[in-house]
Symmetry: C2
Subunit: 279 residues, 2 copies
């Protein structure tokens, strides 16, 4: 009988845990910022964790990466200049680069080692990293947004970790105000905003802070994501100078290779559960 190896993430404050059976540990390193680990799981492909928390698995990352990208870019009438904050595994970057209208993507990730490890173990997610439209920067995303010239981007995607440690500032009103300033007269901001079941107050706070920062309309996108706490996740989207029903269906239909998102998801994903209906 061989030993069973399991990776387990405990959601301590919710008294719950998710485990994935592991074939082997492929890589483990301590970067300047965090512990990066790579596992070969039995049924979810390759798994990356940061400080013990699931970041990405081969099997279900398409849900998160597609939903972080396509609803926001398709709601913008002409997304040419895009900024990704965080997103070190490059899965969001890959989705952004599916859009032919996009001429340039700046990706600002704090920890270069996350991207280098992803290039080695998640080649599929990194397959567009050498696209000439993509520029990878390894520095603090908050400082980047504060220092950039006003109206530099059409869309900003905040693909961050949980609101603790270095990522906490990415959930602040000040940061959203800096994003508003960095967006052109028509601009869209989308930020991952945790689990509707476990973190509903954070979602409301995120909506309120985006509104206070100047975004005229704010909606939250809801979608499944097995390997994140509760299996149900969200991203919150603020619009600047864009009407609430702005959507490019022809561009949505032209996207190929997607597994979750399609034009029908655009509105459906923005319908909140009854317990998050507001006003």
């Amino acid at each position: 009988m061989s030993t069973e190896l399991w990776y387990t993430e405990r959601y301590e404050e919710h008294g719950a845990a998710l485990s994935l059976r592991v074939r082997e540990v492929l890589h483990r390193e301590q970067s300047a910022y965090q512990t990066i680990e790579i596992f070969e799981t039995e049924h979810f492909g390759t798994l990356m964790t940061l400080d013990g928390l699931v970041m990405v698995t081969d099997r279900d990352n398409f849900l998160y990466h597609e939903m972080m990208t396509h609803p926001a870019l398709l709601a913008h009438p002409a997304p040419v200049r895009v900024l990704v904050i965080g997103g070190g595994d490059c899965g969001t970057l890959r989705e952004v680069l599916r859009h032919p209208q996009v001429a340039r993507v700046d990706q600002v990730e704090l920890d270069e080692r996350v991207t280098r490890v992803a290039e080695r173990f998640f080649p599929e997610l990194c397959e567009r990293n050498s696209d000439p439209r993509a520029r990878l920067h390894f520095q603090d995303g908050i400082a980047w947004v504060q220092e950039i010239s006003p109206e530099s981007y059409d869309a900003i995607i905040v693909d961050s970790t949980d609101p603790v440690g270095p990522a906490a500032g990415l959930f602040s009103r000040e940061f959203y105000s800096a994003c508003w300033r960095a967006l052109g007269p028509q601009g869209i901001l989308v930020a991952q905003s945790e689990s509707p079941l476990l973190h509903a107050p954070l979602i409301c706070q995120c909506q309120d802070r985006m509104a206070t920062a100047g975004f005229e309309t704010v909606d939250t996108l809801y979608f499944p994501q097995f390997s994140y706490p509760s299996g149900w996740w969200s991203a919150t989207l603020g619009r600047k100078g864009i009407s609430r029903d702005s959507f490019r269906p022809a561009a949505a239909h032209a996207l190929e290779g997607l597994r979750y998102y399609h034009a029908g998801i655009q509105q459906a994903a923005m319908v909140p559960p009854a317990f998050l209906l507001r006003g």
Copy 2:
């Protein structure tokens, strides 16, 4: 330091597991059909398992029970006579009885002990069991549907366990044909159909079998459900003599006390992920 107690459900064929931290074991019995266990969890309230599989937790059962009930009953123009197959915890029954149009509900559950244990440990789910419109029957649901007079019901809800053991027959074409016969000229069938992420072929099979059984249009409802495998669940709905856009919004708005479902969910929940778009 006190001992930590965890309940764990392993999804063996997917190399994954969900765990909930437990304060104490409240009840354990072997019925004629299965092992029924009740746990007091730390953050998910009371938990019922059958043969080691999560059936219901206080914290998240509202998602499943609301979605098994309201989209189907609100798609029917006049749901007066309702049949629930399975549903021993009575959470679906409670949702059905919120509808003032319903004059009678037959609930046919194989294992009376599940209901008796639920009455003791889930009083909220069972709060409408004494409603004079409800009749509890403890016998085989497949035989019930085969033996009932044609056109006995307006809606049939199949709130079953997984398609193994006694519940396997509830996923067969023969059973769906018997349901079709048991429904009036206008009738609706809804059956739980497992996880989109883990069991997509079963969902397609369920759609195909309902269509073959005579249901003119078939749609699947997608919704989050943390404590079921993958955190993402589905129910498949077949319509007999009812148009695909049939919906009673005024009746939806009149429902009180719901936490997930509202009128906006009706269409949104029927939008499939791209990987389940068919035809």
